[in-house]
Symmetry: C2
């Protein structure tokens, strides 16, 4: 059963911007807005493991809500980890201090891929539970974003066994065992589609698909090994009535193809000038981004300059959601995050969105 998100008209500026409707002020949220840069998070994290926090709906909901209490952001994003579906499929997931996630039994052959379990309805239900709590607590204050990794990025973690610099094992499987690659990607599409649907059923107002590491691929390889599966995943969830954000980093040469795969909103990172990126994905989709997360460590006047560059590049048409180009870094000063929100919300559009939108018709 789907939530009331199916209702097409929304008064949330974030949802309106996803649909390229005019908004009074540009909506803003931050990838990893729930996280280590906040004392509230660190306090909770001191008492619970990361996995405990993800898998306990009350804790995940609490972490999701922490930035909403502290920051004037326009959306909440459910606290979870990209690799939870890998765990649900039977891989052993651990978080190693300073090294990040480690999946043991990295997929290197057909047996390993075939051992992956189907994911039943209940398996990842703690995420839906957390979304339900968050929705209740928010009482309509801001919308809730659900998310998952994209098939490629999730596959890369499962094949490499964790983070990677060159994604060699992932590409080796793609190149040397294309049938196995297809089998893995199709399994992931099925699992992720089910997972995302369950999040919408629980009340998610929008979905973001993180293809964080897809920028390691050439356009030709993206087209052959990734596009069909990202498109398939998005086609399975695009009828749910919630906007879909399709995000990646280092995607300067993949933007047209990502857009071809689908999504109402395309995420841009700072390597792409926002106006040029938007031109390339087309004005019939919205864009999200694209401040360099490290700018948040700079002096205030420099942050202002950089925010201004993004806001000016976006103005002239509705459909921009302000965000970073990737997640907030763990030691980011909270007051700088607050300052950015203030800057975005108070930015005076020289060409008001509303006027531009009327002009376009």
């Amino acid at each position: 059963m789907l939530s009331d998100s199916l209702n097409v008209s929304s008064s949330f500026p974030f949802i309106q911007a996803c649909r390229r409707q005019p908004v009074a002020r540009t909506p803003v949220w931050f990838m990893r807005q729930a996280g280590r840069y906040m004392k509230e998070y660190r306090d909770l994290r001191a008492r619970h493991s990361l996995l405990e926090m993800c898998r306990t709906p009350e804790l995940a909901a609490e972490v999701t809500l922490q930035p909403i209490r502290r920051l004037d952001v326009d959306a909440a994003i459910i606290f979870a980890d990209l690799l939870l579906p890998a765990q649900a499929m039977g891989m052993d997931l651990q978080f190693v201090e300073r090294e990040g996630p480690v999946l043991s039994g990295a997929l290197r052959d057909a047996d390993a891929v075939r051992r992956l379990k189907d994911v039943g309805d209940g398996e990842l239900s703690y995420v839906g539970e957390a979304i339900r709590i968050v929705r209740r607590e928010l009482a309509g204050k801001v919308p809730v974003i659900g998310f998952s990794g994209a098939p490629f990025t999730l596959a890369s973690y499962m094949i490499e066994g964790g983070a990677s610099r060159d994604f060699a094992q992932t590409k080796i499987m793609m190149y040397s065992a294309p049938e196995l690659w297809r089998e893995l990607m199709e399994k992931l599409v099925a699992v992720l589609a089910g997972f995302l649907k369950s999040q919408v059923a629980a009340g998610a107002d929008a979905l973001q698909i993180f293809d964080s590491w897809v920028g390691c691929l050439s356009p030709g390889d993206f087209r052959q090994y990734v596009l069909p599966y990202s498109r398939s995943l998005i086609s399975k969830i695009c009828g749910l009535g919630v906007p879909i954000i399709h995000f990646g980093t280092g995607t300067a040469t993949l933007l047209e193809l990502m857009r071809e795969a689908g999504g109402d909103v395309i995420g841009l990172d700072w390597r792409v000038e926002l106006d040029k990126g938007w031109e390339r994905v087309g004005y019939d989709v919205a864009v999200q981004g694209n401040l360099d997360p490290v700018v948040l460590f700079g002096p205030r006047h420099l942050i202002e300059q950089h925010v201004d560059v993004v806001m000016r590049a976006a103005q002239g048409r509705p459909g921009h959601i302000f965000n970073l180009g990737h997640g907030i870094l763990p030691t980011t000063p909270v007051e700088n995050v607050q300052a950015v929100i203030q800057m975005v919300h108070s930015f005076e559009h020289h060409t008001p969105n509303r006027v531009a939108s009327l002009r376009e018709r």
Copy 2:
């Protein structure tokens, strides 16, 4: 005193291609063609540390020559490490198993930057010595490429203390201490210019500047914090009479700016389609690239397909040097490297370079 490289006409196809002169067959070499994927290298490495191999001219020359004996490549590149100038400037350099290079005393404040030493003539002379030996041994068989890191990439190692994923400390210095950043970059330009000049004096026939990590920057930040220094470095060495290759990875949105900074040849990685990249940097420079190094692990027919894509994208005008988009990976099968060389050399240009070149006039 400069070597005979000043002589503008050269019979080396590699040098001719750098100068966009027609060649009978496309020249090819590989970044990190001297390295761990070769048994000869591993045998030597088992008896010597990496630093010993770099700093002992006979050993560095031997390693440089190993791929020339085994592979039909069109150029040798002197065996050295990007971080040797950092060591010469007083930083402690170590290579840690699986972690890569570690520079202790990472630069985080003005004192650390000011403690960096000027590099005297003799300091890095072992690299020049190795070039002299290589030139003698090669006896004109293939040209020798000298190299250094670009100011940004070297600075990033010195500030981060090693490899990095997000280059946060580097950008924090750029953003928060722009005067200190300038001071560091100017120091590096001076050191690197001297180092590169000494390599040409020793007989290097071409120079490559590795800005390997510059792709972490937005175009605006590149223009402000990197372009002036890369341009300054290149302007100091472009009168030496040897072609300069300006290389980076993840540079899809920086290509025009890299070209503005200088170089006779712009290095492209696999994220950019070679023909599109060349169009963007302009046909009045040559290009080098751009096979994904991981393709070398694939089955032969797939390698062929990928090589073919690169060769077709390059055909129609002189000025393409075949290479990977980044260095050969340590476990690459040598026979696949050999196969690629064979494919490149035997590629039949549908529009012969010579004809295209005449037509362009």
